[in-house]
Subunit: 346 residues, 2 copies
């Protein structure tokens, strides 16, 4: 009989197929086509800076000028932004509806100057640099008083909405309202804290480290797990062991530890699943100003984490209509597969 599991943070139910669990080889997905280096016109490659929107920031060699070669990580405004940084906030009603102009930011972080380099998997120093730049941009965007949240994400592979460009990059979108899904997590975490006087994520980490069957990797400061209520086969989260609500509060040493476990986790996933389609999403606390209400307690309630969501199954009518997910691979099984790939070099 299938099992229904309830997520302790937001109360989402997941149907976990416990019999006939799907194995890594049971998932069929379109393999990403590697775009060859010969594609000289890739706008994200070093030397082609003139093909992109003018850079906002770049980590670059001393003495090199903006929008020229010599950079290591480059930040540009999205060429097709969802939100625009110009103008004041204007929110008003339209009959019973609410409307707001689309103020915000949409930035693309080019992760490496080299076209075919998959830095998430095989270039730790470069991944550290990328994460440093993410933090720098998040801190900068949070200063803008019109913005309430900065969302970092990466799409990979066609079904996950990934770009066909084949040049590694991630995206930052800053929004003028707190997104619904973030709010749900904040409210859920607060509810737990109010009741237990403990952080729900800290409790989860404690339980997972005790039970062990869903812990993929553990380092001094971080762990990666297949969460008990995984919505997707091989869904994997990375969390800091020490309570912290802001991703961008990490210092250089922490960023280095985080980059390491992130890369090892990704390596295990790729070893197990191949070049799989995925979305990676950072869940971190919203921008905070002096505000009353539950925003005040956010530092004790909330705990940042990364969610890696392989897109091996389709989200169809039942999931859309119910918010219930059906996961054909129990996280305990997924974890076994991921743990077995011990031959992964650090």
């Amino acid at each position: 009989m299938p099992e229904l599991r309830r997520d302790p943070i937001i109360g989402r139910w997941v149907i976990v197929a416990t019999e006939r669990a799907k194995r890594p080889t049971d998932f069929i997905f379109e393999k990403g086509k590697k775009v060859a280096r010969t594609q000289k016109k890739c706008p994200f490659c070093e030397g082609n800076e003139s093909l992109t929107t003018p850079e906002i920031y770049a980590l670059r060699k001393k003495g090199t000028r903006p929008n020229t070669p010599g950079w290591e990580v480059r930040v540009i405004p999205s060429i097709s932004p969802f939100l625009s940084p110009e103008g004041d906030l204007d929110r008003h009603g339209s009959g019973m509806y609410d409307i707001m102009n689309g103020v915000g930011a949409h930035e693309v972080l080019i992760a490496t100057p080299r076209h075919n380099s998959d830095i998430l998997i095989n270039d730790l120093p470069q991944l550290e640099k990328l994460n440093e730049v993410v933090i720098k941009r998040m801190r900068e965007l949070k200063k803008d008083k019109r913005l309430k949240y900065v969302l970092m994400f990466k799409n990979h592979g066609k079904v996950a909405g990934g770009s066909v460009l084949g040049h590694q990059h991630i995206q930052l979108i800053a929004t003028p309202v707190t997104p619904k899904r973030v709010k749900e997590e904040l409210v859920g975490s607060k509810r737990y804290f109010d009741y237990k006087d403990r952080c729900v994520f800290c409790d989860m980490i404690r339980q997972e480290l005790g039970v062990k069957q869903r812990v993929v990797l553990e380092s001094d400061d971080f762990l990666s797990i297949n969460p008990y209520c995984s919505r997707f086969p091989f869904e994997t989260w990375i969390l800091p062991k020490e309570h912290s609500c802001d991703f961008d509060s990490m210092d250089k040493k922490k960023v280095s530890c985080y980059s390491k476990i992130f890369q090892l986790t990704m390596k295990k996933l790729v070893h197990t699943l191949g070049d799989f389609p995925y979305n990676i999403i950072l869940h971190t606390a919203p921008c905070r100003r002096k505000q009353k209400g539950y925003w005040e307690t956010i530092e004790q309630d909330y705990h940042w984490h990364i969610e890696i969501m392989p897109r091996l199954t389709q989200v169809a009518g039942f999931e859309w209509g119910s918010g219930f997910y059906i996961n054909p691979t129990p996280p305990e099984e997924a974890c076994k597969y991921l743990k077995e790939t011990n031959n992964v070099a650090a």
Copy 2:
């Protein structure tokens, strides 16, 4: 500048791209391959009853026996059910987590005995019969005290999780908990009612009929609209004008009116978009027993409706992480296209 719109029911934000709105021809999707009638082994075709699980119910000609030809609509248990009808409910904790055995029902309603008949578009009498059977099954499932919700949905096309069988059918899943997304709508509708003393859907209908720019079709008892906060291009809802929370409370006359507007709406969508991938989901009130709290007020708060969600765009990292949707076709534009297909025969 893009526009941010807030849904008045659950408070979800949608980014609507108002400039460079995408037209119907801008969406590229894999066309569904018609599976030829020659595929003798289609288990849903009349004459192949022995290839399916034994029928639960069938609307059939007098004198014909179960699991033999002579039926018009046939209901069978899913061959790969998400939930199982056997056993008692057992909900318990596992450390901080909640677990429940997967009690429920998962039924497939074969919409027609004929393989290539698209009854949603071109066979009104058959669609009426199908809807009568849906109501019959919903009423039956609601009697089961272990079950809290009956979800009806249809997936069409590969990206929407549709079956490759090519024989029209819909699905019913009955769950032992109220799904999260349903709860959100119930809570949102109640909040509105508590404040305004009016149903949020009734107010929406009033506003839409006044403004008219998002009304696709209107009949005596129903209307179909492209909602103000459409998450997807050409998202279309069908609602009864008269307040009603239960889909299965419709009498034969209402079912006939509903089937008519549903079919005309689908025709307009198909004329505009071609054989597009979609999910159709019924949003209706949960099973109700004598319970305290907000369940008592559900009849005045909630309003059933159908959501037709074309899957023309991809849901990627940003949407997953934020619960924000990005819609490249404003509903007002979508409505213009749908209205223009006036040549559709009734």
